[in-house]
Symmetry: none
Subunit: 244 residues, 2 copies
DNA sequence: TCCATCAAAGTGGTTTGACCAAAAATTTAT
DNA sequence: ATAAATTTTTGGTCAAACCACTTTGATGGA
């Protein structure tokens, strides 16, 4: 019965102690009214001040409850206007990634995505960004020469991230960020990176220089080819490791 | 091929429209740190009072941001103890928070990603999947003939999703799913889709047939070209709408 | 009468500062 | 060394303001 629509951390059905957090109780009550159809889509809820009085809590608590509802997709908060019911059947499909992609899948996706991104970036990158890119490259070179490959890799990441940002496409940028984060959160990928770090001095300087060169020349096709060749090379190292 | 002429009303990460709601800005910053891996799972965030000082906002605002993150499933708030990071590398979170990519950004990303995906799929798709694809296509045709364009579009989505799945690359698949989910969660994109639905009968059957044909022939280059031409056409319709 | 304009009221957004209860860290007593 | 008592830290809640924006409605001229 106690549906506890939001954040049902509770496995216990009828916990004598309801959620200790008041704003979640309020959020649940409102969510139940919405799901029960008492509050129909399009309707405006009472003002925060009224809800506070109605449930005998502070306005602040009501606000927190409403924010929870908004993030859940149940209501739409319109500043200066009010809070409006959006939907009653909340059956949106979760887009959660259950089975994390493997290292090779990540690299294949990077090959395609970052290749395209490099081509786009070549046409859209600003001179300031090119300077920043060059700076990253120099840091990378310096750190590699000092055998500090681990630190050099952080600039490797920044280098690629900056190119993603230069595409002026936040969707592309988000996806590339995600792929890198995946790599860092994957044990297997980390293991590969570790092994490779022992074998080679650090990030491939020449490959990055070539990418930078193509970008500075606004050579989209060249940048794409250079980026894909770079990533393919790293992937190759992965494959060799697996072969062992 | 790379139709980079897509004008970019791009809202880059650098200069996002400062959402008037401060707590969403804070939530976004924290979410980005989590997704970027700066805040790793299990880590405890600074105390609310510290975060408030760090971001130069009130503690109340920080609380609201944290509640949004909790409902999003990124953090776990433990009263009396602290706020802990739950997961990272979750593309979903980018939808819940602001800074959602615009319609044209989404389409540009789809052009690149789904183009590559079609090429990969041409080489890897199974006969069973081809049959399923054909079935989707037939349903689409039938629904379009009955003027039920809205329903036809659901099979449009399934069609593209199946191709993404046929790449055998879960990273690619997740990203394409994410792009579609973005489109559906974006008011502006929905508006566009609605307007287009009134103008045209429904999904472009010929374009989908051509894609299917190339896939069945295992023609990677052809599939990529067909897919990109298809998406470019839809994008073109968007651009025309903006022109009005 | 109509309607553009502007003032007032309503609404969410944010700040400040205070107090509480529970968890965690520290000290004290055994 | 262990257990108990105490202090500190942390999130949870309340309160009273003020702000910016939206909505409403009254006003006044055409």
């Amino acid at each position: 019965m106690n549906d506890n629509t939001l954040l049902s951390l509770a496995s216990s059905r009828q916990a004598p102690v309801p959620n200790s957090r008041l704003y979640l109780q309020i959020a649940d009550k409102l969510a139940q009214q919405i799901n029960a159809g008492e509050l129909k889509p399009g309707m405006r809820l009472p003002a925060e001040r009224d809800l506070a009085q109605q449930y005998d809590v502070s306005r602040q608590t009501v606000r927190e409850a409403l924010i929870a509802l908004e993030v859940s997709g149940l209501v739409d908060i319109r500043p200066g206007s009010g809070v409006y019911v959006l939907q009653e059947a909340n059956l949106k499909s979760s887009i959660l990634v259950e089975n994390a992609p493997g290292p090779l899948e990540i690299m294949e996706a990077r090959l395609l995505l970052e290749g395209d991104a490099a081509a786009l970036a070549a046409e859209r990158i600003s001179n300031e960004e090119l300077l920043k890119l060059k700076a990253y490259l120099n840091q990378m070179i310096s750190l590699v020469q000092q055998q500090r490959s681990a630190e050099a890799e952080t600039f490797d990441g920044k280098f690629h991230q900056l190119i993603a940002s230069a595409t002026r496409n936040s969707a592309l940028q988000s996806m590339i960020e995600w792929l890198w984060a995946l790599r860092e959160s994957s044990e297997l990928s980390q293991l590969f990176a570790e092994k490779i770090r022992r074998q080679v001095a650090g990030p491939n300087i020449e490959a990055h220089e070539k990418i930078y060169l193509c970008l500075s020349r606004r050579d989209a096709a060249g940048a794409k080819a250079a980026m894909q060749s770079h990533i393919a090379q790293v992937t190759e190292a992965y494959v060799l490791l697996i072969g062992e």
